[in-house]
Amino acid sequence: MNPNIVSFVYLVAGILFILGIKGLTKPKTAVRGNRLSALGMLLAVVITLLNINTVDFSFIIAGVLVGGIVGGIMALRIQMTSMPQMVALLNGFGGGASLTIALAEYFTVLGVAPSSFAELLNPVMVESSAFGVGVEGTIAVLAIGLTILIGAVTLTGSLIAFSKLQELMKKSYGLPGGPIGNGLFLLTALAAVGFLVINPGNVAAVVAIVALALLLGLFLVMPIGGADMPVVIALLNSYSGIAAALAGFILGNTVLIIAGSLVGTSGLILTQIMCVAMNRSLANVLFGKMAAGGEKIDADEIYAGKVTSAQPEEVAMMLEVAERVVIVPGYGMAMAQAQHAVRELADAMEARGIEVEYGIHPVAGRMPGHMNVLLAEAEVPYDNLVEMDRINPTFEDTDVVIVIGANDVTNPMARDAEGSPIYGMPILNVDKAKNVVVIKRSLSPGFAGLPNPLFAMDHTLMVYGDGKKAVVEITAALNQA
């Protein structure tokens, strides 16, 4: 087929990807955007298949069948609360795909079929121009090395992120030496890439890059947990895009470069947003533990004798006379699968003429936008989901704030207590509201390990218990009133 036609169709596919992401800038156009993007994918795949010359379709068909079935089942079965796990897995598969493509391209150019692992490690004599003449060849090998490196890090890093989110891995392990150990690993892997560029025929260098990068992915993500996961997922999302773009350089394929760089920037921007929302640098999230506070803050001192607990009926009585209520959800709402119960409570309040909105902190949950998806699943209109900067000025005019399963993102210490580990992190100023109801299992600290003075405030009521059960009881009491 005329290569110009192929390039032209790739351009059309690239445009459709761009329009697809543009559609995502508004909820109303998002579904159509996603379909345009899928259409672009279909075009790119079809024209590629038509363009392959000496083709043996068996491997392609087998791969598409297996991948299609696995992907389809995952997409249709996954619960909305488990979306972070799904995205983590998809990030990893994206990295794995780029990794294997780079390896396939490398061995294609080498033109060898090693029959054993031992033979694989033998250096192969290649023409100095095998990968391209002069600088082109150097850059081609460099792109292969870097794609392998980033793809492999993304693969194992994402698998660890998945197992942490799925709570298969509960402890945090790290390399002795932490960041220094990781840094040494990275430098060694980069050195192997450099060695490969000088000796393109050295298969052992390729094997070394793969091994080092796979381990680096493990060690980078294993020490990170809990509330830092949104940053990790966003960053791995970015890596998977960068790996795809690099694979585009290996193959000289324009649509891979366009799509890969869009994904890469998307992940990076989300990473940046998450870091700002936690007031931490990326390096701090990746390598540092949360800094220990200047002085040990004694939880008993803050809570002793000052915490007021309440029954669902008392909360219902308070809601009866309210005019404006803001619901602040956190990861605990996802854990308790309470999103539908929360919607029903909001319905009961709205039926009484109470204005209800939801205050969403950027890092609530385990991935960017996690809370929004859960509440959308419960059919909460997206106009009622209000982001932090817009909801904060309204708390002073709010009669009741219901905090369900959120903790650190409401901690006033972030605003008031200079020297506290979370000082400077933007929070939802729920303590400015006239009344605060916190639905929580106990007074246990959140991810930051800090007590929350909000719980001890005079206008705060604690409702202890399972989030879903408590919300259902409040709704029932309100409906009877």
Partner: protein
Amino acid sequence: MEILILLLALFVLSLFLGVELITKVPPTLHTPLMSGTNAVSGITLVGAMLAAGNEGSPMLVNVLGFIAVTLATINVVGGYLVTNRMLAMFKRK
């Protein structure tokens, strides 16, 4: 060499375009954005098919290609389907 420069130009311009586009996506849609971009990064399927289907290549290359096709297809099919599922929930009122 000229091709390489062209590819580099395409890469850099796409990065800038990406920044312009992504910063306009509202936080409400950040999760569908991530799964949707996952699907887009499944474009590696194109490269994977070239590796898997090339008859003249060593077996090792075809097997690597097969793995790549499988992983990329999971991204494409899983990514678009789950994004569509989520966005459908945002659409209704």
